[in-house]
């Protein structure tokens, strides 16, 4: 199911804010699948994603008055979802200490493009999704924010609580982790040179 268009969303939001229950239903039906998918990518289990989706919409219902209508509703909704999921991951004590330490060691070498090409060629979307769940919380969240929610580097920095300058580092490291998960600890995955 695709998200509703901008105009109808704006109208639905306005009506929902005025207390129209049907409008709220429209918003929920329009965005719940996308938010569920977002949570599914970001959180470890399906049950977590289901619970989080419901919680996000409960939060949304309570805080709809805070939405600035001059900005994109879906972007705002994804921010709410991202905050919620990131909060869950941190509350679950999924430690980022190791990830943080490792960020310093981002390789600046030139990986073998042909091996990377081969890897991309061989792997399916399904395999990528499975590999995604093997990543650390920060790496997974960074990739989801960037490639699912299409967030800018500024937004990702804000969301993950890192300086804007390190978003690229976090993303590159996440890609390395993903390659490792897809193919094991090869030289390519570690960012080694040919």
């Amino acid at each position: 199911m695709s998200e509703p268009g901008v105009t109808e969303t704006t109208e639905a939001v306005a009506r929902a804010r005025a207390g129209d229950a049907d409008a709220w239903g429209e918003l929920y039906r329009g965005f719940a699948p996308a938010i569920f998918r977002f949570c599914r990518r970001a959180l470890p289990t399906r049950e977590d994603a289901e619970d989080a989706t419901m919680d996000i919409f409960i939060k949304l219902q309570k805080n709809l008055s805070q939405y600035d209508e001059t900005r994109s509703f879906s972007a705002w909704l994804y921010r709410v979802a991202a905050n919620h999921c990131w909060d869950i991951l941190r509350r679950r004590k999924i430690r980022q200490d190791k990830e943080t330490e490792d960020v310093e060691n981002v390789p600046l070498e030139h990986p073998d493009p042909s091996q990377l090409d081969k890897l991309i060629e061989e792997k399916t979307s399904e395999e990528v999704r499975q590999a995604l769940h093997k990543l650390g919380a920060r790496a997974r969240m960074a990739l989801v924010l960037r490639y699912y929610s299409d967030m800018s580097y500024d937004e990702i920095a804000d969301e993950l609580g890192v300086r804007r300058a390190f978003v690229g580092v976090v993303l590159l490291r996440a890609r390395h982790e993903l390659r490792q998960a897809l193919e094991g600890k090869s030289a390519l995955a570690a960012g080694g040179t040919s």
Partner: protein
């Protein structure tokens, strides 16, 4: 060849040449480089096939990631298909029933148990204007609650500690908050005695000689103690045996194997011991949990005598009522008040004089000697030992209690909606709450008892035990809510959660009621429910102590790395 943005020396087939590093390529592909650097990269890739290929590979990787993420591989689960808001309305009539039953239950509880008990206790010298004041300020275990001051001090300190944790928790790493709280509790236990100069004595034996006077409370631990002198305050004793031949002007609170009172105690005796013998005088009341209790013919108790024991002998004089729950109650002395006894046997000797009514519930009728002077005949009730689940009122009470618990849960959920949701969420994780539940279920009472060993720790220990009991009462409510969530799905709001709590609690009760009467299984299931529930509460509390989601709570900042400034120029060049 153009100057790359971040050149990396690399041995190629043609010797050493510079390539772009992967970071630069990624930032270029994502249009995050400034114009100058982007132009440099662009120029470099026109000459360098390897870097051009890498750029394209990174771009393809981005597209693969986007595709993998956006693909609609799973439909929206059916329980999320509609936003659940209807629960609130559908539970309206149920709430009416629940309130009605709960009100009936509360009224029945009050008239059946609380009011008679209050009247009885007042008659027995524990008088008070209300049950609350009775429990709080005329509590059975120590005089006038002088140590309420200590309790207030401890509470104040804990409040300050809690405030400190709340303020600084964002700066504290995981586990540190808990450590701070535990350290605070330890500090509370380790505090020196309050300004009231209590005398402490620890050793094998203690003896207060006849001409000696302690002008304060005295706290004694040891194997044996002998008090021949005067204590101008309360006496606390933890040990093996104590002999009081002197004069205690306050209360005597005693945990010992053997207690003998030959002297005078102006206050009350509160005793947990194996044997208690009173040959002297107790001006106020006696409350005791013993194996054998004996008020000797020379002994006098000015107030009431409340005893839970295997065998009780009253040969002396009692100023007010006798309340007993004992295997054997033998009365040969004088009782100015009434007698209420529950037990196996009761015998009233020929020298007995009892001024008040005598109520006795036991296995066998009371044996009354011919010379006994009784104001009224013994009112005997045979004790029924039928299995309670075979009695109709058992089920009526189960329903009433269920309603009362649901009402209790409702109040709790409305008072603490967020914490309730967190507790239920913690309960849905099985392993952690059950494991923690085992620890809390057994560990907290032990810790509370240990805390009570010190005078300073008594209020803290009692408080801890009270909170533990409260958590125990809440445990079944938590488990009921988790079950309700399983059946009805995730709630939309607090009322939804309350609805699930009510439904789940009723289901747990229905399932548990028949199981409860199967001895071992019933006990195990009951324990399981308690541990699961109490563990969920503990886990939610623990989670509360964790740092909240904020940037300041991130586990250490990322190290500075030199990166290009950020603009949105760059991007993959056409092939």
């Amino acid at each position: 060849m153009s100057e790359p943005a971040n050149p990396v020396s690399q041995d190629g087939p043609g010797g050493t040449m510079d390539h772009l590093d992967e970071m630069t390529c990624l930032l270029y592909a994502e249009r995050q480089l400034d114009r100058a650097r982007a132009q440099a990269v662009s120029a470099h890739t026109q000459d360098c096939a390897a870097c051009r290929t890498l750029l394209r590979a990174l771009d393809r990787e981005s597209r693969l990631l986007t595709r993998a993420m956006l693909e609609e591989d799973e439909p929206l689960p059916s329980r999320l298909a509609e936003f659940r808001e209807r629960a609130r309305q559908s539970f309206g009539w149920i709430w009416g029933v629940v309130f009605g039953l709960a009100a009936t239950g509360v009224y029945a509880l009050y008239t059946t148990f609380v009011e008679p008990a209050q009247v009885r206790l007042e008659a027995a010298g524990f008088g008070g204007t209300s049950l609350l004041s009775l429990l709080l300020f005329q509590g059975a275990f120590w005089k006038g609650w002088n140590s309420v001051i200590t309790l207030l001090e401890v509470l104040a300190m804990l409040t300050v500690a809690g405030f400190g944790v709340a303020v600084f928790r964002r700066r504290l790493r995981r586990g540190s908050a808990l450590a701070v709280v535990l350290a605070g509790l330890c500090a509370a236990l380790a505090l020196p005695a309050p300004a009231a100069a209590t005398v402490f004595h620890k050793g094998e034996t203690y003896e207060l000689a006849k001409d000696e006077t302690v002008k304060s409370d005295i706290f004694v631990t040891g194997a044996r103690a002998r008090i021949d002198g005067t204590v101008d305050g309360d006496l606390f004793f933890f040990g093996q045996s104590i002999d009081i031949s002197g004069h205690i002007k306050g209360d005597a609170i005693i945990f010992a194997q053997s207690v003998r009172v030959n002297g005078q105690i102006d206050g009350n005796i509160r005793s947990f011991s194996n044997n208690l013998t009173i040959t002297g005088t107790v001006v106020k009341n006696v409350l005791t949990v013993n194996e054998v209790v004996n008020l000797d013919s020379a002994g006098k108790v000015g107030g009431s005598f409340t005893a839970f024991a295997q065998s009780i002998g009253i040969d002396g004089r009692l100023g007010r009522d006798l309340l007993t729950m004992a295997g054997e109650t033998i009365i040969s002395g004088t009782i100015e008040g009434e007698v209420r006894a529950v037990g196996r046997n009761m015998s009233i000797g020929s020298s007995a004089q009892i001024a008040g009514p005598i109520h006795y519930e036991g296995d066998n009728p009371a044996s009354v000697a011919s010379g006994a002077k009784l104001a009224t005949p013994v009112e005997y009730t045979k004790r029924e030992r039928r299995s309670e689940y075979r009695q109709g009122h058992y089920y009526v009470w189960r329903v009433i209690w269920t309603a009362a618990f649901v009402l209790f849960g409702l109040v709790l959920f409305l008072l603490l909606p967020k914490f309730a949701a967190e507790t239920v969420s913690a309960g849905e994780r099985f392993g952690a709450p059950v494991g923690l539940g085992v620890l809390v279920f057994f560990g907290v009472p032990i810790a509370a008892v240990i805390a009570c060993v010190t005078v300073v720790g008594i209020p803290l220990g009692v408080l801890t035990l009270g909170l533990w009991l409260l958590a125990l009462f809440c445990a079944e409510i938590v488990v009921g809510t988790v079950v309700g969530n399983w059946i009805l799905g995730k709630p939309a709001d607090t009322w939804g959660l309350i609805g699930r709590m009510a439904a789940g609690f009723v289901i747990v009760r229905i399932v548990y009621t028949p199981l409860a009467n199967l001895h071992v299984i019933g006990a195990l299931v009951g324990l399981g429910i308690w541990m699961w529930g109490i563990g969920s509460i503990a886990l939610a509390l623990y989670n509360r102590l964790q740092p909240t989601a904020s940037q300041a709570a991130m586990p250490g900042p990322l190290p500075p790395v030199s990166l290009p400034p950020h603009t949105t120029v760059g991007g993959i060049q056409p092939a």
